[in-house]
């Protein structure tokens, strides 16, 4: 009896798990499932691809290079001079309505916002409004942490210092009458950046928080004076600043500059007519063969104009179908040996 008890004590549990006999679904990737599956996926993808492609085609986009490399370019003089706030203007004509909502982007090429050192050169605590980081910015901001007189720079770091400072105004000339197109600068940055991630210190007036600090070397105005027209658009929660602070992933990038205010004449977008963009030319890009652009674009549900997604869907979808045909041929010709 004792022996039996000890036996059963040592006996392994006879459960489905311990015996590796759990009930299981045992699918096999055989031609029988894969071929019809591929056809279905392929057809679905082709459908999506066509839809995306058509949508993308319907998006209108205007892109103008105003860097001024060539002498015909309206900004060539500004490009060669080193004068600040050099003015130049760029004209274009719309023959039809540019369907709204219209977005106004500036674009930079050959510009590496994704440099590691560049990207690290900021102080998130400072930008969160923590005053202790105003007086002693993070060392990651170096060499833009202190100016030559050892005063802390706020906001510190390369990103802030290199903030894009060309400005644009847009006028519409129709029937000899020139209208200023009103541009909306609200909501061009992420809502979370504006409301949560970046904060001004809790000091009123804001200027006092910046006592004992200096503005970034390349800046014309200190951070608390970025937008004279709107006091809530100053400091670290300035929309242009926030847009700039979100580093682009690739060296050719666009950033949202303004939105065409959809009101009055511009309710449906930019109507046909002659337009002039007045540019305050500051930002130097020729040294590194950079290109500056302005872009007007409308968007669909799938964003801006991008044919890639549609084409990719079409390609993958047709590949699926082709592959299923190939597999069918192979399958029919060689079959499974066990079916003979």
């Amino acid at each position: 009896m004792v022996k039996q008890e000890s036996e059963s004590a040592n006996r392994p549990d006879n459960t489905a798990f311990t015996q590796q006999r759990l009930p299981a679904w045992q699918p096999i990737l055989s031609a029988g499932i894969v071929i019809p599956g591929f056809v279905l996926i392929g057809l679905a993808f082709i459908g999506i691809g066509v839809a995306l492609f058509v949508t993308s085609k319907s998006i209108q986009e205007l892109e103008f290079d105003y860097t001024g490399y060539s002498n015909e370019s309206p900004c060539s003089s500004c490009a060669q001079s080193v004068v600040a706030n050099c003015k130049c203007s760029l004209n274009f004509t719309l023959t039809t309505l540019l369907q709204g909502p219209v977005f106004f982007y500036y674009g930079l090429s050959n510009y590496f916002q994704n440099y590691r050192r560049y990207g690290a050169s900021k102080d998130d605590n400072q930008l969160y409004g923590d005053l202790s980081y105003f007086t002693s910015p993070s060392s990651s901001c170096s060499p833009y942490d202190y100016d030559s007189s050892k005063k802390p720079i706020v906001p510190c770091g390369s990103i802030a210092n290199s903030m894009f400072n060309d400005t644009f105004t847009l006028t519409w000339t129709v029937n000899g009458k020139t209208n200023n197109v009103s541009l909306d600068g609200k909501g061009i940055a992420w809502w979370t950046d504006y409301n949560v991630k970046y904060r001004n210190p809790n000091v009123t007036p804001l200027k006092n928080a910046f006592n004992g600090t200096v503005k970034p070397i390349n800046w014309a105005k200190p951070a608390y004076e970025l937008d004279a027209s709107d006091p809530s658009n100053n400091g670290f929660v300035n929309q242009d600043f926030l847009v700039w602070m979100r580093r682009a992933a690739l060296p050719n990038f666009r950033k949202l500059y303004r939105r065409i205010d959809a009101s009055g004449d511009y309710k449906n977008g930019l109507p046909a007519g002659n337009y002039t963009v007045d540019i305050t030319y500051n930002y130097p890009v020729r040294a590194f063969n950079g290109v500056k652009k302005i872009v007007f674009s409308n968007v669909s549900w799938m964003g801006g104009r991008n044919e890639f997604l549609g084409i990719a869907y079409l390609v993958i979808g047709s590949l699926c179908v082709v592959m299923s045909v190939v597999m069918l041929i192979v399958y029919a010709k060689f079959k499974f040996p066990d079916e003979e």
């Binding site: 006996r11 968007v299 399958y331």
Partner: protein, 1194 residues
């Protein structure tokens, strides 16, 4: 510690000192720690180790440093340590946490696991070291812990106790100073051997007397050879000191067991790790599996890829920086420090790239592999089919490092006694003048009535035959050296015979003899005892017959027979039994042909056969014989030779009586297991210490040799006739002629169309083959030739092997050019060295102690469990771990290659593509559990099919799933996926927005998009490879994807106060809020998986493996596999139905054993048998089967 010191020898009185010239080094032992008398030369007392056995690796104190050291000796761990240190020192793109945390995790888990395993070893050691021993101390017996024994202690060992260390026998409870010992756990011979005490000390057999012995022992320092010992005892008790030689017949070895002797006194000479048993252990070196070797090779490749990636990027970075405007545009000025030190910058840049890409070496692969092995090994322990009800034991896993190696075995080296066989002889039948007698088995506890349990087969014998029959049974009852031991207590292992009043046992040095005497008892003739020179037999009529035992002509392996001369009622008979080959030539009458036919048939059946003959001696003849024997016995010189000559003269003119057949019963399903292993493409070698005939019989029975196997012999007998050189070349010519032009198709090999070769080699010849450097290059040639012969033999039997020779064989095969994976399986201490030597060592929980089990990597209760171990568990583990390894490299290529590509678009600035959290957690949590689970429970095919179809094992032979093409395929697939993911995201981000509110995304969104596609792709890839979807798989695979999403939402959803950056804030949510991001994720996942699916389907159709073929045969949509979860009972039943020959391998079947001639269909195929017999006669290579003779003690 005392090398080169010649022991001071007293040579004056030494008459018979043997082998003096062999003494290189000696030790002196004072018996009972008594100093020798002052007059003698001074001995320098040496220090000896205590009797502690240490198999553990660590102590409490050195665990942490030693374990750390060993862990960091692993290339991968060392690499991660370096990366971690680099991250601490230089300015790197990622924080030290990203590699420090996983490293810490890996090191801790491994240390815990190894610590636990070592703790188990400590426990086992302690159990041995602390068991108590009786020591004589000042005339009293005291108990002492085994580990406290010192050299020079006198110990008392009682019957059935195991010797705690190597001892010299001083005296025993027997008057003649002998004792019986079984060395079963040392060399596998279960017979009882006799050991002798020195004449001068044998009378001192109480503790008081023993304490008065005053003597010293000089002996050689310990050496591993079990059978060699040279020493001398100096006794100072008489006026004149006496010296006596000591040899191996005086030496009791640790691990052997005292039998049939009440007690002995003996003195300790070798202790602890110096005992011969311990010296026969090889150091327990870390075994590494083939998979681990492939893993390391891949690692090196990836390391090269990593370094070249870092080099390329560093170089390109400097090309890039050569343009100062690119190097330092106005928006990204450098600090003063950065502008200086250009050379050092280059190096730190290189290191930074290394750190950035270091994740390509799968950081958590090692820990996942460790966990997989550790947890996975539980399935072996849990396996109910590997549980043995008889023993109440289940499989044990000692090292989980080798699970997958079980799926790679090419050679199985198995011990015979106790492994293939039960180590339990059973009388099967006897044949008198061609009439076959089969004893009835006990049916339902009752002896079957009628003819006293005898079954006549042929026509009932006539009167002459009747007389022969009577003589035959008496011959078997008398012609043996069996002792009868009466005992009240029941010992399960011994062959008990119930006689109502008390239990008595037959004890013999040869289990065959016991079986025969017991068989006789079942046939009605009971041998009672030997008393005052009278052998008493209880015959069928319950009358006691007495025979006077006149002489015993003992067994020896040259004659292969033994005889007794007895006198009964005035008549003198010589009864002789022996191997057929040694009996038949000496027979002058009797029904030789019938008996021979029967013997040969039994031999083919794998039974151990003996022939019995007699000769009636007239008084004159007996007188002559008596004189002959006496003369020989008294000879001082060449006594053995003279005895042999005398025996030769006496054992002649015999009259044949009949033959017997005894079976060392094979373990249950042993033959089935060996057949399965053969079908699985595994070569099975039997290595045994047993003698050739016995071993060969077992090989036939276990289907290792088939009836049409042609046996090649490479034994001492042959090499005596021809030189080793000639034999080897002749054999290789024979083998190669057959196999030369022919490609050995795996299936025709089994069909028996071609001649199978089986090789038999013995220990002496083997050592001649292996002997190094006699004729320089020539000896290497022998080895080559030998290997060549072996490779062409389907089965090899090595007999008369010493433990270390077994290991040598294994080593030889291991080192041969194909480097096959070897597995050694055995149950005794004599198998330990080969168990340790082989890639995988398996211990059988046999009757011979636990040493094999303790030193093995896996232990199973029975040999039959090896089948499931290899064919099912081994196969699964291999499939699982190879997928694990490949998948790990694949997913890390997918992971890191986009980061490499990104460098081309960020000015080679080491900008990480992914966030730190993703970098750290990718391997630890997002993608770790599904593959771990896969590697634990994947079953690509049903286990019943694996068992039924051993050929499937060939599919994975030679590490087939981890070969370079497969590895390259996975890597290329990884690179392809990486390119798809990266450029997919790249073109999506190219100069446009993909939100409907016109806002732009930044670099972290880019990385997150790639990362999301990555996590889903690698998880789906695994899902596509999973063939066994239990609810756990669903849970883990979908669960880990959900975990990734939830984590990302959380990680980006909160401003984390402890972080000094918030770059991921809302990135994931913003991304998900955009339709094109969803679409592109779906697109990129599909595009990444597409080629792999297509490849799989096309390969499966064009070049299906056997496994895939069988998978295809099963219905494509097996809804639930619950149908193959039968109850245990039914699977057992199926098992026994599968057996070809149930009689051979079933344990005590309860049904009556009828004669085999009734089962005509099994035995009507005599043609191959005859061919075998013919060929064996025609060619000298042929193996003449000879029945096993009785074994006699040393």
């Amino acid at each position: 510690m005392d090398s080169e010191r010649e022991g001071p020898l007293i040579l004056v009185e030494c008459h018979l000192c043997v082998g003096e010239e062999n003494w290189v080094d000696s030790r002196t032992i004072y018996i009972g720690h008594k100093e020798p008398p002052p007059g003698t030369e001074a001995f320098i007392q040496q220090r000896f180790p205590d009797n502690r056995i240490v198999s553990s690796k660590y102590t409490f104190w050195n665990f942490i440093p030693k374990n750390m050291f060993e862990q960091f000796r692993r290339v991968a761990n060392f690499y991660f340590l370096i990366i971690f240190l680099v991250q601490l020192i230089i300015d790197t793109p990622t924080s030290p946490v990203t590699s420090g945390l996983p490293l810490f995790f890996v090191i801790t888990v491994t240390a815990i696991k190894q610590g636990y395993e070592d703790w188990l070893r400590h426990k086992a050691d302690n159990a041995v070291n602390q068991c108590s021993v009786h020591v004589v101390h000042h005339g009293k017996v005291v108990r002492k812990q085994s580990r406290k024994l010192r050299v020079g202690d006198v110990v008392l060992v009682k019957e059935d106790e195991t010797f705690p260390c190597d001892l010299i026998l001083l005296s025993s409870s027997r008057d003649d100073g002998t004792c019986f010992v079984t060395t079963a756990s040392l060399d596998g011979e279960s017979s009882h051997k006799t050991y002798y005490a020195v004449q001068e000390t044998k009378a001192y057999n109480t503790e008081k007397e023993v304490d008065t012995i005053h003597a010293t022992i000089e002996c050689e320092q310990p050496q591993p050879d079990l059978y060699k010992f040279v020493g001398r005892i100096n006794i100072y008790m008489t006026n004149e000191p006496v010296a006596r030689p000591l040899g191996s017949e005086n030496l009791l070895l640790r691990g052997a067991t005292l039998k049939n002797t009440e007690y002995i006194y003996a003195v300790v000479i070798y202790t602890g790790m110096e005992t011969k048993m311990a010296l026969n252990y090889q150091s327990k070196s870390q075994k590494r599996s083939a998979v681990e070797k492939s893993m390391n090779a891949y690692l090196v490749v990836y390391l090269c890829i990593l370094i070249s990636k870092a080099l390329i990027n560093t170089a390109l970075k400097y090309v890039w920086q050569s343009d100062p405007n690119k190097d330092e545009p106005f928006y990204n000025q450098k600090t003063e420090v950065e502008r200086q030190r250009h050379l050092i910058r280059a190096f730190t840049d290189f290191l930074a790239f290394m750190v950035l890409f270091n994740y390509i070496i799968p950081v958590s692969m090692y820990v996942t592999v460790e966990m997989q092995k550790f947890l996975g090994s539980y399935f072996i322990m849990w396996d109910d089919e590997m549980f043995d009800e008889e023993l109440g034991e289940r499989a044990v896993v000692n090292t989980s490092d080798l699970n997958e190696e079980l799926g790679q075995v090419e050679y199985v080296f198995t011990d015979k006694t106790g492994t293939l066989t039960e180590n339990n002889m059973e009388f099967i039948e006897c044949c008198v003048d061609g009439h076959v007698y089969v004893p009835h088995a006990i049916c339902n506890g009752q002896v079957m009535p009628g003819a006293a349990g005898m079954d006549m087969i042929d026509s009932s014998p006539g009167p002459a035959a009747r007389e022969h029959e009577e003589l035959f049974f008496r011959a078997l009852c008398l012609c043996h050296t069996v002792q009868v031991k009466e005992e009240d207590t029941v010992d399960g292992i011994k062959h008990g015979i119930h006689q109502g009043k008390s239990t008595s046992f037959y004890i013999s040095s040869s289990p065959d003899e016991v079986a025969l005497v017991e068989g006789m008892k079942r046939l009605g003739f009971t041998y009672l005892r030997l008393k005052d020179g009278q052998m008493e037999i209880l015959n069928r009529e319950d009358e006691v017959e007495k025979f006077e035992l006149l002489d015993v002509l003992t067994f020896d392996s040259v004659r292969r027979r033994m005889s007794v001369i007895v006198r009964a009622t005035g008549e003198v008979y010589l009864f002789c039994k022996g191997a057929d080959s040694s009996i038949f030539p000496r027979v002058i009458s009797g029904k030789v042909d019938q008996v021979r036919a029967r013997v040969e048939q039994n031999a083919v059946e794998g039974l151990r056969t003996l022939c019995v003959a007699y000769r009636s001696l007239s008084p004159e003849q007996y007188e002559e014989v008596f004189q002959l024997l006496n003369r020989a016995k008294l000879a001082l010189q060449d006594r053995d030779k003279q005895l042999a000559e005398a025996y030769d003269l006496i054992e002649k003119d015999l009259i044949l009586l009949g033959a017997t057949a005894v079976e060392d019963r094979l373990q249950e399903k042993a033959a089935d297991t060996i057949e399965s292993l053969h079908k699985a493409g595994i070569k099975v070698w039997v290595l045994t210490g047993d003698k050739m005939e016995t071993a060969a019989a077992t090989c036939y029975a276990s289907k290792l040799f088939h009836r049409n196997t042609q046996i090649l012999e490479l034994t001492t007998k042959r090499t005596e006739e021809q030189s080793l050189h000639d034999v080897l070349f002749e054999l290789s010519r024979t083998v190669l002629r057959q196999h030369g032009g022919m490609t050995r198709d795996t299936f025709s090999e089994l069909s028996g169309d071609c001649t199978d070769y089986g090789l038999i080699i013995d220990g002496a010849t083997l050592s001649a083959v292996m002997r190094p450097g006699q004729e320089g290059s020539n000896s290497g040639n022998y080895k080559e030739k030998f290997l060549e012969i072996c490779r062409n033999c389907s089965a090899v039997l090595c007999c008369r092997m010493a433990p270390l020779q077994k290991a040598q064989i294994v080593k030889l095969i291991k080192a041969s050019e194909e480097h096959p994976i070897t597995l050694a399986i055995g149950d005794g201490a004599n198998d330990v060295s080969m168990i340790l030597e082989a890639h995988v060592g398996i211990g059988i929980m046999g009757k011979e102690g636990r040493q094999a089990v303790r030193n093995s990597d896996y232990a199973i209760p029975k040999f039959k469990h090896l089948k499931k171990m290899l064919l099912v568990h081994g196969h699964y583990y291999y499939i699982r771990i190879s997928e694990l390894v490949q998948y790990f490299f694949y997913k890390n290529v997918c992971f890191i290659f986009p980061q490499f590509l990104y460098q081309f678009f960020c000015g080679f600035s080491q900008q990480p593509l992914y966030d730190t959290a993703y970098l750290t957690l990718y391997n630890i949590s997002f993608t770790s559990l599904p593959i771990l689970l896969y590697s634990l429970i994947e079953q690509h095919i049903n286990m019943d099919i694996l068992k039924k179809d051993p050929c499937l094992y060939r599919d994975i032979a030679k590490n087939s799933l981890l070969r370079w093409p497969t590895f390259i395929y996975w890597t290329v697939l990884g690179v392809y996926d990486a390119i798809v993911m990266f450029f997919g995201a790249y073109f999506l981000f190219d100069n446009t927005t993909f939100t409907s509110n016109g806002q732009m995304f930044g670099n972290w969104t880019f990385g997150t998009l790639v990362f999301t596609v990555l996590v889903f792709t690698v998880t789906f890839k695994l899902a596509l490879d999973t063939h066994y979807w239990t609810w756990i798989n669903h849970f883990v695979i979908w669960g880990s994807l959900i975990f990734f999403v939830v984590f990302s939402l959380l990680w980006g959803g909160i401003i984390w106060p402890f972080l000094n950056y918030q770059r991921m804030y809302y990135v994931f949510m913003q991304m998900l809020s955009s339709g094109p991001a969803w679409l592109s994720i779906i697109l990129l996942i599909t595009a990444s998986l597409l080629p792999d699916v297509v490849k799989k389907v096309i390969w499966r159709t064009l070049w299906p493996t056997t496994t895939e073929r069988i998978q295809g045969q099963l219905s494509e949509f097996t809804p639930l596999a619950s149908l193959h979860a039968p109850s245990k009972g039914s699977s057992h039943r199926r098992g026994s139905e599968n057996q070809r020959n149930p009689r051979r391998s079933e344990p005590f079947t309860k049904k009556v054993m009828f004669t085999r001639w009734q089962k005509a269909p099994d035995y009507c195929t005599f043609t191959p048998l005859l061919r075998f017999a013919d060929s064996s006669r025609h060619s000298r290579q042929g193996y003449n089967y000879s029945g096993a003779g009785p074994e006699t003690s040393v």
